[in-house]
Symmetry: C2
Subunit: 467 residues, 2 copies
């Protein structure tokens, strides 16, 4: 890591050198307060905090355009900040600079109910959007565990439990508006459902982790609230059978809306944390969307499949409250895992493999954990071949730390050997830069870098992420 | 248009200057034959032919790498060629150069049945892929009218009749392999269903129309052949009611697999061309995929909707042959339209609008046609808000040509006013460059251009397309 204030492009400036200008521009919406900066330079991940020098809360697009111009002129890093829930230190500020907190830009701009679409400011959170959509007959399916902002979710190509049926942010965004490093504001597309007009800059910005532009508005595709929902859970004798049942469900073409794996340890942790009473064995949480008859048909087919793998019984969560409790527990899995191992540091990571390799990948990972004497509750969006580890590490124990590193390396290497990816939905950030190169090769990463250098020649936008 | 052999970057070289080198490298797979060059510099569109100086048929990736290196060194334009079915002169060679015909690269590389994916060389055509998949229980849904190559379909972000349910090439490609202007071959991603590892270069290449890289291999997502299919057609009293029925079908959340509009004129043309016996009035062709009960449920709901709009009766095409005949007619619509107006030149164009504006867009376009005394059968992937015109023009009639231009301008302007796009699936090519700028603005197009310039500084890859 290069030292503070410098990178390959030369010295960075600092916001206090342009303090008067910033204060004149942003008034009470710029702060140099340490507690605030600590909140902005420290995510929930295992990465050490790296504070920005200042925090600015823009109120509108014009604020951001002004900010970008002054930052680029003075070579001050800009670090976009949504809800601070990213997991690979995306929001950390290794060279200081300004955290651009979009929480004041949280308006619904326009709701296009007839087109099943909505345009929101980047600071709108997913729960805020859920509340807005209540009663409209439409919903937005992407649900990362945290109450992230839509802008942050776009910037990190987030997904969640519904991705197996409804896709990720990659499929959910119709177009977005962003302020680019040259100070220009662009809208990447129209509201038509499909287009073949020019390069797909929408997808270039989705997953760019704040390094190419600051996303300020997003137009999202919505879906009709299903007429009927059947949800429930199902225990399995071992993790392999749970994975194989998940695989066959997908392969059978059952349009399962959610299919989440919790390993034995995670079930224990969730039982304790969320007052559940699940059998402590690998378990799938599932949900089917459709008409009353089609959901029943899906659930019946699923029931046949799980029996073939020794799973079951499938317990229906008929009441909405029961279903909500189940999914709340799934969304709280991270905190349940943390509470389960008090005093330990939690390394949160994910990989994604082709679904035919999922059982193997998970079984081998659990063998690794045992061999290396490590503890890590496991959850997975298994319909997508994506799983997460909450690796619990005593940071003061050098041996354990080195075993954890070994585990993480093996995990990524195995994903790559299976033609999978080093991250299904967390992003590269500052934590997986080496994995990016082993995944794509220097040639492809070189192309990514050349795009970065063209659009942000001074490397002002979220430096030290991805590359 | 700049003159032959020069563009903004200086002079282009010509393949005959490196003839000996090319012949040594490619032997019988390089040709300077005029008939072959005519076939390669002339698509089915209204654009005038512009011939390449040579045609090369590479046999493998290494051939293309070698070719790119020698072409860049000698500044010879390279024009990727699949099946030659593009509609905006993508394959035309305004500065001459080499047409890179991928038809010899037509192998299935690897079939991942358990993961519902397949990797093919770029020259595989969609019908070839269909044949390969027959009997496997899987199918590939993207079906542009022509028997295009998978590489060409990726390069132009093609779609077709199934896009309303299964998406376009933007959703269908898991990763692709391309030779870039720097002569490096890259694979843009892994086979995992989702990833958040770095910039999305897969989507940057999809729809880049050969201007950023030559696509050589594509990994596609496949879908399970539905257990049951119900298809049929349904007449409407007028085009507005047909559009509104289509809109309500989508808004009701019926997961219709195909929903195609043919206007009265197109029905007439198809009746003549394909020996159909349809009532000559605006008609929807539809298809529902699912289980026997869920397809029946969808068809029943659809039947209720069409009755609300005065449509019907809904005629089921129960037998596979009948259904195939229906969809064959839809895929042949262009040729039926051409045969309907012998001696006329056909301008094929498409736009796409938010579905809530579809009826308006189509009705106003038909009013324009009447006002300007023009003839144009109309078909539409109406579930996506996308429609096509086959505008019939007597090229020797100056007045008619100028009315046609007026019509095309109004069509695009209207799509833009409705927050739609100037092309839903045909691409920009050489025909819609001005529309690209009015759609996105100079700022966004400027960013696209800067990416092009970074990756292809000599503007060797398919010059004069998009920009």
């Amino acid at each position: 890591m290069l030292s503070y204030k410098t990178n390959m492009l030369g010295k960075y400036g600092r916001p206090d050198q342009i303090k008067t200008e910033l204060e004149a521009m942003f008034g009470e919406n710029v702060s140099f307060n340490k507690a605030l900066r600590e909140h902005h330079g420290n995510d929930v991940s295992w990465h050490k905090a790296q504070l920005p020098d200042a925090v600015i809360l823009p109120k509108n697009n014009d604020d951001i355009i002004k900010l970008v111009k002054i930052a680029v002129k003075n070579r001050v890093p800009l670090i976009p900040f949504g809800a601070g829930t990213s997991l690979e230190a995306h929001i950390h500020a290794p060279y200081g600079g300004i955290s651009v907190d979009l929480s004041k830009m949280n308006k619904i701009i326009s709701f296009h109910q007839e087109d099943m679409a909505i345009t929101v400011q980047a600071g709108v959170t997913r729960k805020q959007l859920d509340s807005f959509l209540k009663g409209t007959g439409l919903f937005f399916p992407i649900d990362p565990g945290a109450d992230a902002t839509i802008g942050g979710m776009a910037a990190t190509r987030a997904s969640g439990t519904n991705a197996v049926r409804y896709g990720t942010m990659s499929e959910a965004v119709l177009n977005l508006t962003a302020v680019m490093p040259n100070g220009e504001i662009v809208r990447t597309g129209r509201r038509a459902k499909k287009t073949s007009a020019g390069y797909d800059l929408t997808h270039l910005l989705i997953g760019s982790e704040g390094t190419l532009g600051i996303i300020t508005e997003v137009t999202l595709k919505l879906h009709g609230v299903p007429e009927a929902i059947i949800g429930g859970y199902c225990p399995f004798p071992d993790i392999e059978s749970a994975c194989n049942a998940a695989m066959l469900t997908v392969q059978s073409g059952i349009p399962v809306a959610r299919m989440e794996l919790l390993d034995k340890l995670q079930v224990k942790a969730s039982n304790q944390h969320d007052n559940l009473n699940l059998q402590e064995t690998p378990t799938l949480f599932v949900e089917f969307h459709g008409s009353p008859s089609s959901t029943k048909e899906q659930a019946d087919l699923f029931d046949e499949i799980i029996q073939d793998f020794g799973g079951g019984p499938f317990s229906y969560a008929d009441k909405t409250e029961d279903r909500n409790a189940l999914w709340a527990a799934r969304h709280e899995a991270l905190w349940a895992a943390k509470a389960f191992c008090p005093g330990k540091h939690m390394i949160i990571t994910d990989v994604c493999v082709p679904i035919s390799r999922l059982a193997e990948a998970i079984v081998q990972t659990q063998n690794d954990l045992e061999e290396l004497s490590l503890v890590a509750p496991l959850v997975g969006h298994v319909g997508d071949g994506n799983f997460h580890l909450f690796l619990m590490v005593d940071e003061t124990n050098e041996h354990e730390v080195s075993m954890a590193k070994k585990l993480l390396n093996r995990l990524i290497q195995r994903a790559h050997e299976m033609d999978g990816t080093c991250t299904g939905e967390h992003g590269i950030g500052k934590g997986k830069k080496a994995a990016l190169i082993s995944e794509h090769g220097q040639e492809l990463v070189g192309i990514m870098k050349s795009i970065k250098k063209t659009l942000d020649p001074e490397n002002i936008f979220n430096p030290e992420n991805i590359f």
